[in-house]
Symmetry: C2
Subunit: 340 residues, 2 copies
């Protein structure tokens, strides 16, 4: 079955290809029915896969000698879409040999090559990076997280539409509540661009999903299922949340390691501490999806390890097995035929 | 001494004037040499101050019946600068009767009235909201945090200059390390506006302070003393950090309350838990300073309690007693006479 093939760029990311193959092995155990087409240096990949019987059985390695470097300009990488692991993995999706690609490589290159290779869905002005973030009572999907630095109000509308469909089909929320990230909740706050987008949302046929503006501290409130923003502030939001979670973890370590009572408390509450670490583990939410293209593109954090990469592959698997991109396309067709 | 007078808008904020007066009482114990001029409804303020001997002795209440509402447009509030508690408190600074004003009221109004009433420092294109944020090893000053939604590269340069002087004189860092908030560390990341500002910084005589771009997750690294950004993303950054810290605290509570071992661990490690809560307490960092005006303006969080408000008054006190605004003015004069 075509839809069970996932293309993997084995050469992208700080610890590639080792973390990539280990992560793939983890995800493969969780999702045994998936086949992988692995693009990269076979001399490096084969020794890593040799003793992993299960992964070996479901993988095909396509030897590619070139790969996109982390600091390469997107314009340069575009010229090498037919010779690099990232480019060929994207091609596999474009040709229908796979319906998802996962890469931990250069974000700008992945974005440019994916748009070029997979083309935008009809009616979508710009694709957007979306990721699921934890809240106090569940999860929220946020987009755009960095694919578009400057955004127009039309971009925000398109992101909203894709976010609503994502929340419905991936997060399982039948009536997603959507808000625009802003510097205040009052109507007068923020730029004209946001005001314009808000006014369109309020008067559109999905006005029932639109709940107004949300500030950065309320994203975690659990009151929203979709948060929409331009790629610059979305990236700042996502990364600040990561950094602050790290700071909290560091505080925990400092404080409980600095006194005898703290150490005893830690020893007794070890399982609680571990469960908190698990809850706060950013690897669980690794994997951002590039929405709005003819194919599923999942970007893994470049610095993640095998556990993080496995989560990114899980996300691609879930979207691919669930045929989410077809759902998104169909719903887009339906929505776009109605007037905003 | 004039410089020991602080003007207080007693009517701004969700819990005003109660939290304002209680906060003032706390700060007054820590800083007994400061005098306060309190602007607001005397019928409400006097009963709150009556039994606080120390605060009473150093306070003068100026009865004002009108105050700026939280949801008022700045344009409307500007017209009432001579009849409202916020407006008159700012006037006191403009007239030299006080050298700092603290308000927990409407941010937009405070910004507009302060610019109008106190005027910008010569050579500063826009004032900026600055606040001190915790890092893994100390503190970092971040600006702008919401005073300017759209920023030019010249604005970022001015913010940098004010941030460097703040870090030197308020944080006591002789050689502050400054970075621009961006979506990546590579030169090509971000908007043209940021690239322009970066190029000016690199070729200016304070290039030694400029360390390049920083992403949202690295702000807490302790590698920077000043983080400069436009007001929109700065606001997103500050509030996301607040929200994530709240989320971590909620996780701690959930996890340790949900098992017997967790509860025992909590009981034994109580002092560690309290010290973590203290470290993460956002009230400790309450108080954003509006830099770039002829006078010190401190904005307290509208929703804070007396402890938070006391910290905002402490900040105004420190800046006022240390004569920081004069220092900033002098250094600005010096720096501005050299070419960028």
């Amino acid at each position: 079955m075509l839809r069970n093939n996932i293309a993997i760029d084995a050469m992208g990311g700080d610890k590639a290809p080792k973390s990539i193959i280990s992560g793939l092995a983890i995800s493969s155990i969780r999702n045994p029915s998936i086949n992988y087409i692995i693009y990269g240096d076979a001399n490096k990949i084969e020794p890593l896969i040799k003793n992993r019987e299960q992964l070996k059985a479901v993988s095909k390695i396509v030897h590619v000698e070139d790969w996109i470097r982390g600091d390469e300009k997107a314009s340069r990488s575009l010229r090498r879409s037919k010779t690099t692991s990232m480019g060929l993995a994207i091609s596999a999706v474009a040709k229908g040999e796979a319906d998802a690609i996962v890469s931990a490589g250069n974000s700008g290159a992945l974005l440019a090559m994916s748009i070029f290779g997979l083309r935008k869905l009809p009616g979508i002005s710009r694709p957007a990076l979306a990721a699921v973030m934890p809240t106090i009572s569940g999860e929220v999907v946020a987009l755009d997280l960095g694919a578009n630095i400057d955004c127009s109000s039309q971009n925000l509308i398109d992101f909203s539409l894709m976010g609503i469909i994502f929340a419905k089909n991936v997060l399982g929320k039948p009536n997603p509540r959507l808000a625009f990230l802003n510097v205040g909740e009052e109507d007068t706050k923020g730029s004209n661009m946001i005001h314009e987008a808000a006014s369109v949302m309020e008067n559109s046929h999905f006005s029932s999903f639109y709940k107004g503006y949300v500030e950065g501290d309320k994203i975690i409130s659990g009151d929203y299922d979709v948060v929409v923003c331009d790629g610059f502030s979305g990236n700042v939001m996502l990364k600040t949340a990561e950094g602050t979670a790290k700071l909290c973890a560091a505080y925990l370590k400092q404080v409980f390691g600095s006194s005898i009572l703290g150490k005893i408390s830690y020893a007794i509450g070890r399982s609680s501490f571990l469960s908190i670490r698990k809850k706060m583990d950013p690897r669980k939410h690794n994997g951002a999806v590039l929405l709005g293209l003819n194919g599923i593109v999942v970007k893994s954090h470049g610095g993640t390890d095998s556990i993080g990469f496995a989560h990114a592959v899980d996300l691609a698997t879930e979207m691919s097995v669930g045929n989410y991109n077809e759902l998104i396309k169909n719903e887009l067709d339906k929505i776009k035929t109605k007037s905003l």
